[in-house]
Structure formats: structure tokens, C-alpha cells
Subunit: 234 residues, 2 copies
């Protein structure tokens, strides 16, 4: 049974990396002592090693060891054997390019469907969707496809940002961008605000955290759901 946490962000304002999620993660990863970390999105160009150490520091607080996927020659086997998985944020284009390069999407999807607990934050959440096409990131590299894990039946927009009514900036708002996506695609999009996450248990998907989430479906006005509500498009 799928057991996934799809988080908007790793870090909320004025808190340490992953801090707001640690109580949740302690339960989420209760059956494993070690987490396999996928550092490929590496924010701001941090090294895989540096990123993995940062993650290890946070997970140490709940008594978990962390290994970085970059350390393994056979990355597929590493994923197959993992007791827990975490894909961190950074640049989604880079992450997806790397997952294709090492041919890891299929094995990662398999592990998640087999029930290995998975945590994604930001780019690591984007890849849980059907495609990465509602990322906010810059296309700094060219991945061979925008198709991602599809372990949830819709797309994610992490770090969802409400329009600022006082802004004089003329660039598109996030909502406008997602509407443009819906001119060419019919997948629902869940806009996850900072500090929100989806708890996926099998086919049940619940919004968690303090805030509401904004749901975008093709051809209908966007609407909000409350924390604690289930998300379903059937």
C-alpha cells in the first residue's frame, strides 16, 4: 500500500530544515532506521554530499540514519533495498533529468507502490505527480521527458503562492500559469501552500498542515479544500 508524504516545502519560515515535519516523519518512517536520500535536485548547486549531510543532521533528531543515492554504484538496487525514501527539493528539471539518466523512475515508482514509505519536498513532490509540468522551476537543463512518477493521479504545484493584490509586477500570477497549463492538459493540479502536505495511504489522499490547499481543475473555477479533507477527482 502506497505510503507517501508529498510536502510543499522542506522548510517553513523561521524554522530549521524539515523541523515542522519531524513528528510526522517519526511516525512515517517508524519501520526503518535508515533513509535513502535522493539529492539530485541539489538546490543552488550544493554538492550531493553536502545536501545529504544537511538531511542527515535533521533526521538524526528522530534517530534515523541517512545515505545518499549518489554513494551507490548500483542505484537501482539501492532503491529496491531501501526501507525509506526521501527526495529533496531544488530544481525539478535537474532532478527529472538525473532520474532519466540513471533510469530510476520505474524502480522508484515500483518501490512506492510496494509500500516503501516515501517523502518528497518541493521538487521531490513535483515528481509524485503525473508530469512535472506545474513546477515553478527554471528549465536549467533539458530532461528527455516531463513525465514523472504518477504515484498520485494529478499534478502538484508546490510553494503555491496567492496573488498579491498590491503587486505592480506584470508577470503572470501562479494561478494564471496553472490556468495556461489547463489550456493544454486536463490533469487536476493541487496548489500546496508552504507548510501543507498530502498524506497518501493507498488510494486515500488527505491534506495536512495548518492551511487550506487550492485545487485547479480544467474548465471549472479553482476552489479550496480544508486541512483534514480527502482529495479525490472521481
Amino acid at each position: 500500500m502506497k505510503n507517501i508524504i508529498v510536502a510543499s516545502t522542506s522548510t517553513i519560515h523561521n524554522a530549521a530544515y524539515l523541523e515542522y515535519l519531524l513528528p510526522t516523519l517519526e511516525e512515517h518512517f517508524s519501520d526503518t532506521k535508515e533513509i535513502l536520500f535522493i539529492p539530485f535536485a541539489r538546490p543552488s548547486g550544493i554538492t550531493h554530499k553536502g545536501y545529504t549531510e544537511k538531511v542527515a543532521t535533521s533526521f538524526k533528531k528522530i534517530d534515523k540514519k541517512v545515505k545518499g543515492l549518489h554513494e551507490y554504484e548500483d542505484k537501482k538496487k539501492a532503491i529496491e533495498r531501501a526501507g525509506g525514501l526521501f527526495t529533496g527539493g531544488g530544481n525539478t528539471f535537474l532532478l527529472v533529468q538525473q532520474l532519466y539518466k540513471y533510469e530510476l523512475l520505474h524502480v522508484l515508482r515500483e518501490a512506492i507502490f510496494n509500500g516503501v514509505p516515501y517523502l518528497g519536498t518541493s521538487a521531490g513532490s513535483n515528481i509524485c505527480g503525473v508530469t512535472m509540468q506545474t513546477t515553478n522551476d527554471m528549465p536549467i537543463v533539458y530532461p528527455p521527458s516531463f513525465k514523472t512518477l504518477g504515484v498520485i493521479p494529478f499534478n502538484i504545484n508546490p510553494h503555491y503562492l496567492d496573488p498579491d493584490p498590491n503587486s505592480k509586477h506584470m508577470g503572470e500570477t501562479r494561478e494564471t500559469r496553472i490556468k495556461e497549463f489547463h489550456k493544454f492538459n486536463n490533469l487536476p493540479v493541487v496548489g500546496l501552500r508552504e507548510g501543507s502536505w498530502l498524506a497518501v495511504k493507498g488510494d486515500e489522499i488527505m491534506l495536512k498542515g495548518n492551511l487550506r490547499a487550492r485545487i485547479f481543475e480544467q474548465d471549472i473555477p479553482p476552489y479550496e479544500i480544508e486541512s483534514g479533507e480527502l482529495i479525490s477527482f472521481e
Copy 2:
């Protein structure tokens, strides 16, 4: 001799479409009565026809006619015969996908190198760069390549936005995103703020408008240039 206006935006706050640029455009397009408009980025999913009408309304104020490229069966010939060219904003992924689909990049580049006056705003400016990899847009469609016109020897970040020191949002700032680009690419990036544009005359590229622009080069700190200064990376 190349004769290009590369504008951050079509529209500044509290002004009509293209209004702030009209005196400049009157001079820029002084040798032609008709502009060929490329509406393929179509913001918010507006139709090609609707977008072209919007553009025509603005250009009428300086006594220019506007035809939309979508009206032509033979789009290559339409570009070859144009006396003036304008590519409007919207979604850069969509624009680039369409330009590849109709195989127009080469003929457009040729026309610009032959001296046909060109105007780009937003997505239409992004494509003047070597690649579209510093766009802010969402990857709503998958183009066959990120390579663009390369009529200027660097990349553009339109609608450049300074970091908000009061923000509690944890998504990446624009500067952080461009720094990530430079982890994998060595092209300089010009961050054009709203209301700024580049006037390209042959190999001379001058910043215009009221604001400064922010320049990002690989491995050195970002710096500002003043309006009226030339941009060169040699």
C-alpha cells in the same frame, strides 16, 4: 544590420498594452506600414485572432497595420516578406514548441539578421536569447529543444524581480534560480526589470527605459548596469 527591441514586458502598471513603448516603436518601425505579429505564446490561452486584434488596437495608435502569422498558410514566406516583426508574450514553452512545429526559427533568425525590425516582449524577448532556459514560465508543453534564436549573445530573464526582504515565502528567488542556471551553463543572463528594454543595433546593445538591469555571469557576483549603458561580454 540587426535592429531589435527586446522588452521585459508589453505592459507596465496602470498603462495600456504597449503604451509605454509606442514612441519608441514609431521610430523602430518607421520604414514599414505593416507588422507581422507572432501570437503563438498566447497568454492565458487567448485565441490567435483575439491576441492579434489586441495588438492591432495598440499599433493603430501609431498608424500601423497588424497581421497575425496564424493567418498565413505559408508561414515561412510570410516572415520572409515581412517589413516588421513582433513576437508577443505569454508562455515561452508554448511559443518555442510552435516555432519548432512550423520550422520557423531559422527563417525568423535570418530575417532579423537581414535587418527586419523586430520587437519582442516577455516570451518574445526570451527567444532572442541563445536558449529559453531563463524563462519564468511553466513547462505546460514539451518543446523539442530549449535552443532559441540567438540573435543576442546571452540569455534574457524578463520581468526580473528583486528579492522581497520581507517575504516569508520559501520558494527560490529569481536570483537563486539564475544562479542555479549558472551551475550548468556559462551564458550571461540579463535580468530586465518591468519597463526596461534592450535596443539592439547591429552588435551594439543598449539598455533603455527608466530602470537599471541586473547582470548575471557565471562565477562572479551579479552587478547592475544603468539605462543608456552598452552591454557587452567580451
